[in-house]
């Protein structure tokens, strides 16, 4: 989510680029994306460039909003508004 949020202005992000940013394995990243897609936070587009399959992901509006809310929550916890 953080990677997609950081790349949101560049449009849909290729799987290989996301992998480089997140430093996750193929399987781990794929499973995260599937979960986020099911939640409606991420849109996944699959197509071909020549004969090469390409997977691209982008943050939906709902996803962007949820991410911002999550970051706000984390900041609030760190600043002592909430948490221990």
């Amino acid at each position: 989510m953080a990677a997609l949020h950081a790349e949101r202005e560049a449009g849909p992000v290729e799987f290989s680029r996301l992998k480089a940013i997140t430093q996750a394995t193929d399987g781990n990243l794929g499973s995260h994306l599937t979960t986020l897609e099911k939640a409606g936070y991420v849109e996944i587009a699959k197509d071909f460039v020549g004969k090469r399959p390409r997977t691209r992901a982008s943050l939906t509006q709902v996803g962007a909003k949820a991410f911002r809310r999550h970051v706000d929550y984390l900041r609030a916890v760190v600043e002592g508004v909430d948490g221990d």
Binding site: A2, I21, D84
Partner: protein
């Protein structure tokens, strides 16, 4: 159930690291075509230095530098969507600073050795890239090291063909580095 303050801080740090990596990779993509362009200019310039008399070198580089700067501005504008606006001027200011430093060193020390004059800009440019690599983007350290090493090897091993060596090794190193950054 909520999370602890340290867990939240750690999550925020992870988010910032991810955003940082994204900025770094975007910067590499943005710089890649510019580096490839300067690789070509470098190759053309040094080849011309090998072919033409010393008193023509200034004119050659003046023309090539103007072509390079204008092309850099055009390439930067094309990549503006992916990069921050101030980036172009930072790159141009960096190039200008290196050129001014080299010109000042030549003016002060008046090198009598043609080979030293050929190799020095390579060492200087290599140093600048290495510095940028140490400070911000690690890949530039390797690019700078390659350019620095190529200039030194050329000076000590290939002196009779130094201009052509600098054209092939220096220009080649910059061009290949551009390809490497594009794949980041």
């Amino acid at each position: 159930m909520g999370i602890s303050r340290s867990e939240a801080a750690s999550a925020l740090t992870d988010i910032e690291s991810t955003a940082g990596r994204s900025r770094l990779l975007r910067g590499y993509h943005y710089a890649a075509p510019i580096l490839m362009l300067w690789g070509l200019i470098w190759a053309v310039g040094y080849t011309a230095m090998g072919l033409l008399a010393t008193n023509r070198w200034g004119l050659i580089w003046l023309v090539l530098d103007i072509v390079g700067v204008v092309s850099t501005i055009l390439l930067s504008r094309r990549g503006q969507g992916a990069a921050r606006g101030g980036q172009t001027w930072k790159i141009l200011a960096g190039c200008g600073a290196v050129a001014a430093f080299c010109a000042a060193v030549f003016a002060m020390f008046q090198p009598t050795s043609r080979e030293a004059a050929l190799a020095f800009p390579g060492l200087m440019t290599g140093l600048v890239y290495a510095g940028a690599g140490i400070a911000w983007a690690p890949r530039y350290l390797w690019i700078g090291a390659a350019l620095f090493a190529a200039s030194l090897v050329g000076f000590f091993v290939f002196q009779p063909w130094l201009a052509y060596w600098m054209a092939a090794a220096g220009g080649g190193a910059l061009f290949v580095s551009g390809l490497w950054l594009r794949r980041a």
